[in-house]
């Protein structure tokens, strides 16, 4: 187990280096020369060259990347000219809102898809199962941000139950969370259903029933517990998906998270903020996916035994 964790951590390090270099190299091609932005348009060519050398922009890409990562290790991601503050500080000030949204969305989707998936699996082939499948087709095809717009029209403009955007009280997370959460429901419901169907067919469930264990207990104690692995994977992917993928929902609801920060920064060519935010989000994503992977060992002793070999 220990060796496996170390190996995975080393791989994580490689992935993080790869991702950050990729993003850094792509964003390096972005238009909008920061040197001109600092100097203003009337600077002379000599002033430009001098400033460029002073800021280190004349060095090769790989050196500047090394420098950037060294800075990142010390909590320095550059400076945002649009917001006049350090990018790291800016990112960290927006991260809690995004984390809150991702977490609430995951809760919403789990609350819907877990019971729905189990229900559909237990009544495999029935009309209830088919209706659930049709809903999944519908869910996969509906643009998330449009669901958000419809929710605003119904619950905030017509019924007046919620604000139509912003983040001033805890209720404000409800509509965005439903928007992001329902987007993931289709996939998690399908995963839960097929995972449960696989488990339900196993002999040990028949044995449990034969021993006289109640049906409720058979499902909860014996079936669900063994069906959890794919469900946890789906939930983990969904959580990380909402971290980076709720960009549009954040814009729809004027949610003060990382996604909206990136969109605003792109529009004002605030390249340092874009680069830093995407690298940080990708890093957090891979760390969480690793944690999910390691979680299996705790849920399933069979997997733990494999690692220990």
């Amino acid at each position: 187990m220990y060796r496996y964790v170390v190996k995975r951590l080393l791989m994580l390090l490689l992935v993080i280096l790869g991702v950050s270099f990729l993003i850094y190299a792509i964003m390096d091609l972005a238009p909008g020369d920061p040197v001109w932005q600092i100097l203003g348009e009337d600077a002379t060519q000599e002033e430009y060259e001098a400033m460029r050398a002073e800021l280190g922009f004349d060095r090769p890409l790989i050196i500047r990347y090394g420098d950037y990562m060294w800075g990142l290790l010390h909590g320095d991601l550059g400076y945002s000219y649009k917001y006049s503050m350090d990018v790291m500080e800016l990112y960290l000030s927006r991260l809690p809102a995004t984390l809150l949204l991702a977490l609430s969305a995951t809760i919403v989707s789990t609350l819907i898809s877990l019971p729905l998936g189990i229900y559909a699996a237990l009544r495999q082939g029935s009309w209830q199962d088919n209706v659930t499948a049709e809903f999944s087709v519908l869910g996969l095809a509906t643009p998330n941000f449009w669901v958000g717009l419809m929710l605003i029209i119904i619950f905030s403009l017509h019924l007046g139950w919620f604000h139509s955007g912003g983040f001033t009280s805890w209720q404000d997370v409800i509509l965005p969370a439903i928007t992001v959460g329902t987007g993931h429901t289709a996939l998690t419901t399908r995963t839960t259903r097929s995972s449960m169907i696989d488990v339900i067919r196993q002999d040990y469930l028949m044995l449990a029933r034969a021993k006289g264990v109640s049906e409720k207990k058979v499902i909860r104690r014996h079936a669900l517990k063994n069906a959890l692995i794919p469900i946890i994977t789906a939930t983990g992917i969904q959580f990380t998906g909402s971290l980076g993928g709720s960009v549009i929902t954040e814009s729809v609801f004027s949610w003060p998270g990382v996604g909206r920060l990136v969109v605003d920064a792109i529009k004002s060519q605030d390249i340092d903020t874009v680069t830093g935010s995407i690298i940080m989000t990708a890093m957090i994503t891979s760390i969480i996916l690793l944690i999910v992977d390691l979680l299996y060992a705790f849920v399933d002793p069979r997997i733990k035994a494999q690692y220990n070999k």
């Binding site: 792509i26 029209i153 993928g245 549009i248 792109i266 995407i278 994503t285």
Partner: protein, 294 residues
Amino acid sequence: MDTEVSIQEKYHRRSASSEVWHRLKKNKGAVVGGIIILLLIFLALFADVLYDYETDIVAQNLEQRFIAPCWEHPFGTDNFGRDLLARVIYGTRASLPVGFVAVLVALVLGLLLGAFAGYFGGVVENVIMRAMDIFGTVPDVLMAIALIAVMGTSTMSLMIAVGLTSVPSFARITRATVLSVRGQEFIESARAIGLSSWDIIFQHVVPNCLSPIIVQTTLRMGSAIISASALSYLGLGVTPPMPEWGSLLSAGRGLMRDYSYMTLFPGLAIMITVIAFNLLGDGLRDAMDPKLKK
């Protein structure tokens, strides 16, 4: 004698592709999806026969502003007095080609990378697949936004950005299928008669891997159309005055309080289009590989 012939016709005279076609025709969802897609393509092709771009789509007509859906304007009119039905129909000219080109970009690159990785194995495979993993680690929307930041906001960069984010999934599927074909005897004999690797890959390996790739292509159309409309909603894709479903939604966002119908129809258009592609994709999957059908 007669019955023998008809039995023969029924059971033996069908090639693999007509077998697929036969099964596909029996799948109600796939038929409905296919018909909707044909209808949408028809609308896209003949949109300029139905409406004139200059007078009906772009020109402003301020006396006709904000007419709620009625007989004359089934989808209502927008803040510039333009008929929304016409604009939604013209939207097929943006969304369909964007989805199509994006998926084409992903298909060509993913197919090449996946086929090379699967066929050559070893270092080539490792380098390509790890690069795909790294590329796939960045959330799709963020990656697309970064690419658009570099290329500038235009329909072309939207297509390339959405396409590039789908490359890893095509590469993975192609590689997996190529792996299953690589070891078979006909590949070995092709090598024995001295064909080059390039010829073997594209004349013998890839044609035998087509069905999962065709299915993936159809299913990806739907998600590409959603991503593209989302990016256009953010103002990072198709730009006004060209009506695109995502930018129509974005235009309606600020006016939702009083004119909520403006945000209803473009969203429905996206949903129906994506459902059609997904139904057809699911149907193709079942028709091409009946074993997979649940």
